[in-house]
């Protein structure tokens, strides 16, 4: 993450919003000054060392910084982790998506993890029971089931909570609600453990090891340092260097393996096998009853001192899936998007992060999936598809002779930019159509006659291998539904954005890199069209396609009047979406003897837009502070423990109305921040 001034401001504001001023000041100082020790920090923050240490403990607890102790001098330096700080903007969305995919208990657990930071499993479970066991009955007004798109969740719930003395505090806080909560059934400990196990197995929650507190670069450096000691004669010569590299690599691998040990164990325990996911889903995510025996929960019970934290990398993957689904809905249609969501859900079981660089520590399994890509079969997708989705809708009908399945079923074995273009040309003639597709034609004959009028009688029927355990009627309907779902997948594969790649016989994959790039363009186009109209969009797209163009060719291509073009171009150049290059025709550099070439600088524009996004978010949060200050008398009232949760009864009518106004403003601002985050995610994190 490139930390611009706006990004740094944003990180500090976000930390302030969630974890208070102390943490925020330390983060801000670290972002501004770079890596520092306690002495430097106390100098820059004007806090005494004791306060700084307290604050550091807090931010370390919440994974907001890295630290590194030098072996010789024993001085510890601290370094901000801007990515982690930025992630805080997404907590609302993360909770939302976790709630949807893994159930309410999981969402509450993740919420607790956000509150507590790094925490032992036993402690987490205890806290969870204390907090949710008794007060399930919507204490916090709008909080209980309306998570909204933004941060508002934390707003009500967490803001001032100090994670370190939560016990007492919460006991007090809940005291008020005892009467309403009594009839709630307490949450089973088993359920908590099982949900936690499920989250760890999925990668949403990860176990913490000491290496995680070092930044990946530091970690690598210290491993290298260790390894150099093995070579007393120094690392020289090709052979020794390669030995050394191998050693470093294996050490990093070992760390990766160590980190994912618990996860592996849980994944191996039978009930987390992918084949069971559907059953678990049907059991409403909770999987509390009916799954006795050697469950993941019992594995966790055996190691109550394992420390866990939320893994934002995986959360990002979930968020990305959601965003991609939204885009599919926008570009293609509703039903197709639901099918796409099912595909992404099954595909991303093995995807643990969206992006990686040379410092990312991956286990072997991850590395494998990263380099070979993951793929799913049609059957798997269908198993993930909710039965409510009516796959027969959402696609128009066309008569059989207009459909050429050779193109519809085209298999692209290679991702677009790597070898694709070259190979596709050579394969064009018809090699791409797998022979096995033809075999499946026969199966179509068995399809119910009623189909012929429906989505066209077109054929190409894959994925019909009957498992034998379906009864006659159910069987045909399943085949039929898979067939119809497949049509949605084919549309997605055919779309210009390449949502899906039909990578093998009945196998599907997604090339996230190129797809996200397409979405970046789409967002950029949206912005340009909104700001400069359709004609502005036209001009920039021409430049993107053709490269640099001079003043004369552009109007002819765009079919626009020359003066209009000039006005638009100047406007867009001022806004930073276009650049102009001057090429003098002779030495005089007179304007009339100079050629002007317009061009579109992609990388620069993206950076600019990204920073604008940060800046807008900062402005929203700053405005929020101002609004809160304006209504400080209301805020101070609502902060009282006896008022919290009972605003309507406790506050005077006019004050209550003002409170509602403030809540409304907060909602607006946070949802705007969250919309901006959608944009930033696409431009940077996905």
């Amino acid at each position: 993450m490139l930390v611009t001034r706006n990004a740094a401001d944003l990180c500090a504001l976000l930390v302030n919003e969630l974890y208070g001023q102390l943490a925020s000041r330390i983060i801000a100082a670290l972002l501004a000054r770079g890596r520092s020790n306690v002495r430097d920090l106390s100098l820059h923050t004007s806090l005494n060392p004791k306060q700084v240490r307290h604050g550091l403990a807090l931010v370390i607890q919440h994974n907001l910084i890295f630290y590194q102790t030098d072996r010789e001098t024993a001085v510890t330096t601290y370094e901000a982790n801007p990515q982690a700080a930025y992630h805080l903007v997404r907590v609302g969305k993360v909770l939302d998506v976790i709630g949807r995919n893994y159930g309410v208990t999981a969402r509450n657990l993740v919420n607790d993890l956000l509150m507590l930071g790094n925490v032992e499993i036993a402690e987490l479970v205890r806290y969870h029971r204390l907090k949710h066991g008794r007060k399930k009955a919507a204490v916090n007004g709008n909080d209980a089931n309306d998570h909204g798109p933004g941060l508002d969740h934390e707003l009500d719930n967490g803001n001032a909570d100090d994670p370190f003395d939560n016990d007492l505090h919460h006991a007090n806080g809940n005291g008020v609600t005892h009467s309403t909560a009594d009839n709630e059934t307490p949450i089973q400990v088993d359920e908590i453990y099982d949900t936690l196990a499920q989250l760890i197995a999925a990668g949403v929650v990860e176990t913490v090891s000491s290496t995680m507190f070092q930044s990946p670069q530091d970690l690598k450096a210290s491993i290298e340092q260790e390894c150099t000691q093995e070579f007393p004669n120094g690392v020289r010569g090709a052979k020794v260097i390669s030995e050394f590299d191998a050693m470093v690599k294996s050490q990093i691998k070992a760390i990766g393996a160590e980190r994912s040990m618990t996860k592996r164990k849980l994944q191996e325990s039978a009930m987390y096998e992918p084949s069971n996911i559907k059953r678990r889903k049907l059991a409403n995510g909770g999987m509390s009853n009916g799954f006795a025996g050697d469950s993941g929960g019992s594995i966790l019970r055996d190691e109550p001192n394992t420390i866990v934290r939320l893994n934002f990398d995986k959360c990002l993957v979930e968020l990305r899936n959601q965003k991609l689904t939204e885009h599919a809905e926008d570009f293609v249609g509703e039903t197709t998007a639901q099918v796409y969501a099912a595909l992404l859900a099954s595909l991303c079981k093995k995807v643990y992060r969206c992006q990686h660089d040379q410092h990312t520590i991956m286990t072997e399994e991850e590395e494998e999936t990263y380099f070979t890509g993951v793929r799913v079969t049609t059957e798997e997708v269908f198993d993930h598809l909710s039965p409510d989705v009516d796959v027969s809708s959402g696609i128009g009908t066309a008569s059989e002779e207009h459909i050429d399945i050779r193109f519809a079923e085209k298999i692209r074995k290679y991702p677009p930019q790597v070898q694709g273009s070259h190979l596709q040309e050579t394969l064009d003639a018809g090699d791409e159509i797998l022979g096995s597709d033809d075999e499946d034609y026969d199966a179509t004959g068995e399809r119910p006659k009623t189909q012929v009028n429906g989505n066209g009688g077109w054929t190409a029927h894959n994925g019909t291998k009957s498992d034998g355990d379906y009864s006659g009627e159910g069987h045909s309907s399943r085949i039929e539904q898979i067939y119809q779902m497949r049509q949605h997948l084919l549309i997605l594969a055919e779309a210009k954005q390449q949502f899906v790649r039909h990578c093998g016989h009945n196998e599907w994959t997604v090339d996230f890199g190129t797809l996200i790039q397409q979405l970046r363009y789409a967002e950029l186009d949206t912005m340009i069209e909104d700001n400069f109209g359709r004609q502005g969009l036209r001009l920039t797209r021409i430049l993107r396609e053709k490269g640099k163009l001079d003043d004369k060719t552009l109007p002819a291509m765009a079919l626009m009047r020359k003066p209009d073009v000039h006005v638009k171009m100047a406007e867009m150049e001022m806004a930073g979406f276009l650049e102009v290059q001057e090429v003098p025709r002779d030495n005089n550099r007179a304007a009339n003897r100079t050629m002007f070439f317009w061009f579109f600088d992609e990388a620069r524009t993206l950076r600019r837009v990204l920073d604008n996004g940060y800046k807008s978010m900062v402005r929203c949060l700053e405005r929020l502070e101002v609004e809160r200050y304006k209504k400080r008398h209301v805020v101070s009232l609502t902060e009282r423990k006896d008022v919290q949760g009972n605003e309507e009864q406790m506050l005077r009518g006019d004050v209550y109305n003002e409170y509602l106004e403030l809540v409304d403003i907060e909602k607006k601002l946070f949802s705007q921040v969250s919309r901006l985050d959608d944009l930033v995610s696409i431009f940077q994190d996905f």
């Binding site: 570009f331 293609v332 249609g333 039965p387 027969s392 696609i395 128009g396 009908t397 207009h402 459909i403 050429d404 399945i405 193109f407 519809a408 079923e409 009623t450 189909q451 009028n453 429906g454 989505n455 077109w458 190409a460 009627e473 159910g474 309907s477 039929e480 049509q487 084919l490 549309i491 594969a493 210009k496 789409a522 949206t526 912005m527 909104d530 700001n531 359709r534 969009l537 036209r538 797209r541 765009a558 079919l559 009047r561 604008n612 996004g613 800046k615 807008s616 900062v618 402005r619 700053e622 405005r623 101002v626 609004e627 403003i665 607006k668 705007q672 919309r675 901006l676 959608d678 944009l679």
Partner: protein, 379 residues
């Protein structure tokens, strides 16, 4: 030369007429055909190998302006000039006039730029202007302007029309880009593509799922073919399965367009769109060629309204975001193209549209706390 022109014997005169007639016949199909020496010899008018005779004849014809010499890379060639055109040279009185007229004549439909004529002839400005004026009064040349550079003084022969390059093709009316015409044609192309490349769903489906108890017969009678088809298509168990979960009310909405299945081969190509426009007779008097229609389509592609879709060698076009497109077939100017325009965090108020966004900072002249755009937005 004197000797030849004076003492042209009868045989030569006859040969000359014959040669000209032969050439005329040879280029009847292609008036711009050029004749090289070989071509002329091959016409079988001149006795073979009599180069001297040929030379003489060409000389005579050139002098009489019936042949216009053209320099090619491969050598000299001649273009035939109609007798009526050649007669015009007889009206010219001064040497300057001849030279100027020759250049304008050679420039043909493209026209000749006054500066260019001056440079090529290396004459005084006054002399050139005088010659042009005389030619103009004789109604041999006229001045015109091209769309490429409206300030240039261009001259063309009085009896021909400027080329399409000079007039700008069908997009220009009287040297001005006819934006209304282009706009109208774009929407015609758009509706053609939309109609041919999507499926119109009328939304009866939603109505049916809202009241699943309706008798089947009623649907078939009452609804259009689409609903009937749908109801036929779905097997009994599929219906029972689908209707069990409550059909959400949001499903029930107006007419939308749906994407066609993958592998659809009939997305319209440029040829088909051109034919469609010609059949619809929307551009009477301005015959649109395929390349012009292609220009229109390219514009729509750049506008993100249409996308190219390749099926083997067939390059078709279909509308983007089809389910979000305004489903009505003919959009009036000013209509929104999409019933749900795309937006994101930076297209919306307050910061996305802020004119002073670059100035905005804490403690600066513009800042979030005192921002009037925020005031409006939050109010």
């Amino acid at each position: 030369m004197l000797e030849k022109s004076a003492g042209m014997d009868e045989e030569t005169a006859a040969l000359k007429t014959q040669l000209y007639a032969a050439c005329e016949e040879a280029c009847s199909s292609d008036p711009d055909r050029l004749f090289t020496q070989e071509d002329l010899t091959a016409l079988d008018i001149i006795p073979p190998k009599d180069l001297k005779k040929l030379l003489q004849l060409i000389q005579i014809l050139t002098n009489e302006r019936l042949f216009a010499p053209v320099h090619l890379h491969s050598g000299l060639a001649w273009r035939l000039r109609p007798e009526a055109e050649a007669a015009k040279y007889k009206q010219l009185t001064s040497h300057d006039q001849v030279l100027v007229y020759e250049i304008i004549d050679a420039a043909g439909a493209e026209g000749a730029w006054q500066q260019d004529i001056k440079r090529r002839l290396n004459v005084q400005d006054n002399a050139l202007r005088k010659a042009l004026k005389e030619l103009e009064t004789k109604r041999l040349v006229v001045q015109f302007t091209t769309v490429e550079n409206t300030t240039k003084k261009m001259w063309i022969k009085a009896n021909i029309k400027p080329s399409s390059r000079a007039t700008g093709g069908p997009w220009y009316t009287d040297q001005f880009l006819d934006e209304a015409f282009i706009e109208a044609l774009q929407s015609v192309v758009m509706s053609f593509i939309k109609n041919r490349g999507s499926y119109l769903s009328k939304g009866e489906r939603g109505a049916r799922s809202v009241s699943p108890v309706l008798p089947k017969k009623g649907i078939i009678n009452g609804a259009t073919s689409e609903a009937a088809m749908k109801s036929k298509k779905r097997t009994a168990d599929a219906i029972s399965k689908d209707d069990a979960p409550v059909a959400p009310a949001s499903r029930y909405r107006k007419t939308i367009r749906l994407p066609l299945p993958a592998g659809y081969m009939e997305y319209p190509t440029t040829e088909e769109i051109t034919a469609g426009i010609q059949a619809a007779e929307v551009a009477k008097g301005q015959p649109l060629k395929q390349e012009h229609v292609q220009e229109l389509i390219d514009i729509l592609v750049w506008d993100n309204r249409v996308e190219e879709i390749r099926m083997g060698n067939r390059v078709g076009y279909r509308a983007t975001r089809i389910s979000k497109q305004n489903p009505s077939l003919y959009s009036k100017p000013g209509d929104e193209d999409f019933w749900e325009p795309r937006s994101n965090g930076l297209t919306t108020v307050p910061c996305g549209k802020c004119p002073v966004f670059d100035l905005c900072e804490e403690g600066g002249p513009v800042w979030a706390g005192g921002c009037e755009y925020f005031d409006q937005w939050l109010a």
